[in-house]
Amino acid sequence: MSEPLAQAPAELLASIESLDAPIVLVDAEARPLALNAAALALAPEALEHATDGDLASLAEALGEHARPRPEPIVLSVKTLEDALRAPEQHAESLRQLNQAQAVARIGSWTADRLAMRVRFSEEQYRLYGLAPSSEVDLDSFLMLLHPDDRKPMRAAVVRASRTGEPFRLEHRLADPTGSVEWIESRCEVVMSGARVLRMVGTSYDITERKRYERSLQQSLAEVRASRMRIVSAADEERRRVERDLHDGAQQRLVALSIGLRLARTKLGADAGADAEVAEMLDQLGAELQLALAELRDLARGIHPAALGEQGLAVALESLALRSPVSTSVVECPQHRLPDAVEIGVYYLVAEALTNAIKHAEASRVTVSVSADATRVSVEVCDDGVGGAKIEAGSGLRGLADRVASLDGRLSLYSPPRGGTTVTAELPCV
């Protein structure tokens, strides 16, 4: 035994010398190199029974409540070297982990089953603006969160600890220091059978993403608002044009027709020499009546006066009466809706109806409009050839744009030979 002793590094020998557990150090070929004091104290026959060991059996032997062990543990030089280097390696991998977490801005944590004690990683402390190695439990952790976000977090943690259900939550910090404002936390539960052992989780800085989302939402709202403004400006313009026609051209032409009639009356029934003039005046009067009728139809097409005056139900009835295809309004709110909604629904129905008349070869169209406090639903249904599509340049495309401008949703059901149903849902604000 004296030879081999010299072959073992002094550092290794020192590490086993003072241990209570009997240790036999062996080389790679399992030839004994050295014994520590505890092993030397054993009877020589005990060494015959030396069992192969590893770090786990060593750890067990050294454990607080380890039974006194008569059998020595056989350790190879390599195993012992690894064991001696382990704390170093552990520190190194922890350092690397911390570095990676810092770069990724992801913190991690573990908590016991009741979250009485929560362990934070370095980055986790940084994310939450805490001094490193501060003590954390569930309550003190919740206090770091924005007051509005505490309740959902507590509920999620409690649920996870009871059921093992993982969660994912976005929350704000109570006191955002530095650049971190929003954090996403994920939690997984480590179970042993049905028993919750502990919870582990990560926290991720999503402040930038949240800012991006917010600015995206803002621009989206702006686009929506501007689209709404464009459509309502166009509607307002149509209303103005109709009003101008009504108070201007139409009114003047009616007055003109009266003037013409007065002139004709002056000539008398028996115009004598002026018979030719009388005939001209009669012709002009007839032309004027035609012009008035055309102007009336034009003005109605631009904006139906009944809509503003009497509301949707009357305007839709009027539209249905004039439809060349049998059209009935089976349902429509009798009370007034906001202007923009009434106008939107009216043109929606008008365009869907035009589409049915032009392309569907329908023999019957039904229109129904229903409204509650927040939404209006519109359905225009025909029994025509079906197969309609929302395409660029089609009437239905224009319809979809109009619905979108009102922040609504349009859907089309139009199987071949199965009729066409256009449905729209609009917010009623």
């Binding site: 009616v254 007055a255 009266i258 009336r296 009835e317 019957r364």
Partner: protein
């Protein structure tokens, strides 16, 4: 016959006043809006008020609202409402509101003086007057199964005249039929359309219009 006019266009009022004067209707006052109209009706007690449906300040259906008020305060005054658009809803609302002396005509009708003056006189006499284009719209609307197909051409004519507010006497004069023939046509129409006979001309107009509208 004493008439008041209400329309926010002075040009139109003046022209119409001259036209009516030629037919020996006396225009005793003109109003530019509903408020002036109501004051005029109260002070002048006319036989008929001829009222534009759309007047200041709202330019909506002020004429219709005024007609309703005149009926409540001065039931003997007839109201003829003029409109630049044909709206079935207005015609029916007006006839419903006023059991006597109500009319709804397209504004263009003033051009045909004789017919227009006839309409004014009828309203003054308590009849209902409904613009032929309202009736035409109702009669000619697209229907999948049109019950009016059951009617003969002559019965259709009679139906349209009834809907315009004509009495049997007026219908017989217009169609050159005897009163008895008109009566039998009317009976046949009500039977074919499965409509109950109305007790008077006014309710007959309403019944026919409502039937056609449904």
């Amino acid at each position: 016959m004493r008439v008041v006019l209400a329309d926010d266009s002075l040009l139109f009022r003046e022209g119409l006043a001259r036209l009516l004067a030629e037919s020996e209707l006396e225009v005793v006052g003109q109003a530019g809006d509903a408020e002036e109209l109501l004051a005029l009706v109260a002070s002048e007690a006319p036989d008929v008020a001829i009222v534009d449906i759309r007047m200041p300040p709202g330019h909506r259906d002020e004429g219709l609202v005024a007609a309703r008020q005149i009926k409540a305060e001065h039931p003997s005054v007839g109201v003829l409402v003029l409109s630049q658009y044909v709206e079935v809803h207005y015609a029916i609302a007006l006839v419903e509101d006023r059991p006597r002396g109500a009319g709804y005509l397209l504004k263009d009708r003033v051009e045909n003086v004789d017919d227009f003056v006839d309409a004014v006189r009828r309203v003054a006499a308590g009849e209902a007057v409904v613009d032929p284009s309202v009736v035409a719209l109702l009669v000619s609307r697209a229907r999948e199964h049109d019950p009016l197909d059951e009617l003969t051409a002559r019965e259709r004519e009679v139906l349209e005249l009834m809907a315009e507010g004509r009495s049997n006497l007026a219908i017989s004069a217009q169609l050159f039929l005897t009163a008895r023939t008109v009566e039998s046509h009317v009976r046949s129409i009500f039977l074919k359309l499965n409509l109950a006979q109305a007790p008077d001309d006014h309710r007959r107009v309403l019944a026919v219009l409502s039937y056609l509208r449904a």
